[in-house]
Symmetry: C2
Subunit: 322 residues, 2 copies
């Protein structure tokens, strides 16, 4: 058995995963990063200890732990380099502490890369040689699967960061400090900022989205519901999201000479609102790729992709002599 | 011995290359594509037969031929799919005919990919695991070297096509039919069009560049000479080229998690005019990559990169049982 961990800005999720990709004992607690890195680390250790104990009670042994964190990570040092949503963890030797406490190998990886490992193992990417993965959440993560394996590039702490590819050099500001990144166009945050901008410009002065925005209860899911109900502003924001994602994928496909993408993450629940503009934009911004060779798939593992990927990576590393 | 061939829009070049990467008997004749595909094919066969004969006279045997063509190619079928600069060759089974005539295996590949194989073998990319190559000529070609080998993606007939990555969605038209491709900003053609636009707008009404443009003798090399002499328009065009290339490389580095590029092609002779704006743009458009990890190298093999790469690929394929 392996423990998969997905440490996000809001929730810390853990699960036991067997060698066939079955997920058991899913646990979810608040990350509570506001209490500081040490508190989060202790909570992480405690959650993993619980999973190890539960495995033992079932007569199983945990061989390794896969730990996914949103951000740039140093796999060899087992520490987080930079995480915009978990700033308190920057530079924190999270995986090393966990490994020390559990006395089991811990593999640290970026959560979007683990989405890729998970979907590649038992999801939408199964059987595909080469594809780019995109996770649409509050921000935009990404990964690359080449020859059926996770691509880690030059081991600089990141790879597959399509979210911070600049697609419109004079575009809207991104949380990373640049302008016009894919993430600034095609994320949960971009949807919310689209509503905020409409309020600021005076074009949105009433209605459900306005009221949610004013009360501070606006979510990407609420924007999606409004789009489903026919709201033109919400629909336009999803069209813009699809346009931006198609443009970015066209560039990635042209550079890589590949034609498959898998799109997941919470915002991908709004699939019906953005897939058509995405495909139109992908075709409109591709001159090398035949339209028939461009395939955009929806992730199949939902919230569990990174958890499963974490466990899978742990299993792969545990079986590789180092 | 191996024969390397570089079939461009203007010249057909061939050479004998030994296993150590030494180039002998370089021959260069006009491609003369205006006379049609058949004439070009016959000339290609004749040039290669000459090389085979010269090898034989030196007591050597040619084991395989590597054939580089600018454009999208079908390696397995040995034919050119689409070549913007050699339109008459579209769909032509060039490599198959050459192989039939010579009775020696012929490997067909895109010329920018062969630039990559050559620089990887005995040039600027030697010893680097992962890098992106860019050839700045009339157009912009590109290639990817992953784990020290040429990346061919899903074998769709192209890979590494950074030239047709859209970097400004509302940008200038590209010959490929899109708008705002890197090639539309950062190629020999873009430099010439920058001069043409200045004439059209009335901002360039006299001087050397104006006169060259008017007489039809304007070349990218002339724009470079003017930039060296301090001409502000020419300097600005090279700054724009560097800006565009830095922007595109930043996106590729972010997506791939790598930090090395090798830039070659005829227009790279103007290195001193664009490398500083390129590096500034690369840093300004990167949020994941540390500045110290971004390295842009100049190709070392000049005009011979693709010829050497063609021979090398032929050697690699000849030694691989299929």
């Amino acid at each position: 058995m392996f423990v998969g961990v997905d440490l996000g800005g809001t929730h810390l999720r853990t699960a036991l995963v067997d060698a066939a990709g079955s997920l058991r004992h899913l646990r979810k607690v608040p990350t509570d990063i506001a209490s500081g890195a040490k508190t989060t680390a202790l909570r992480l250790i405690s959650e993993c200890q619980t999973q190890v104990r539960m495995a033992r009670e079932a007569g199983e042994r945990v061989l390794a732990v896969g730990l996914g964190v949103a951000g740039k990570v140093d796999r060899n040092q087992g520490k987080v380099i930079f995480s915009p949503n978990l700033l308190a963890l920057n530079g924190y030797p999270l995986a090393r502490e966990l490994q020390h406490a559990l006395e089991i190998p811990v593999i640290l990886e970026n959560d979007a890369n683990l989405f890729g490992v998970g979907e590649n193992w038992v999801g939408a990417g199964r059987g595909l040689s080469n594809w780019v993965g995109v996770t649409l959440g509050t921000g935009v993560g990404g990964c690359l699967i080449f020859d059926g394996r996770l691509w880690t590039g030059d081991d600089l702490g990141f790879a597959g960061e399509i979210g911070h590819m600049v697609i419109t050099p004079d575009g809207p500001p991104c949380v990373c400090g640049l302008r016009g990144c894919l993430e600034a166009h095609a994320s949960g945050r971009a949807l919310m900022e689209g509503i905020a901008a409409a309020v600021a410009s005076g074009s949105l002065i009433s209605g459900r989205l306005h009221d949610l925005w004013q009360s501070g209860w606006l979510t990407p899911a609420a924007v999606y519901e409004s789009a489903l109900a026919g709201d033109p502003l919400a629909r336009g924001l999803f069209r813009q999201l699809g346009w931006a994602l198609g443009l970015a994928l066209a560039g990635v496909f042209s550079v890589l000479g590949i034609g498959h993408a898998v799109v997941g993450g919470g915002v991908s629940a709004a699939w019906d609102q953005f897939i058509e503009p995405l495909q139109a934009s992908l075709a409109a911004h591709s001159s090398m790729l035949d339209r028939k060779d461009a395939v955009v798939l929806r992730g199949q593992l939902g919230d569990h992709a990174a958890l499963l990927g974490a466990a899978r990576l742990a299993a792969l590393e545990a079986s590789t002599p180092s």
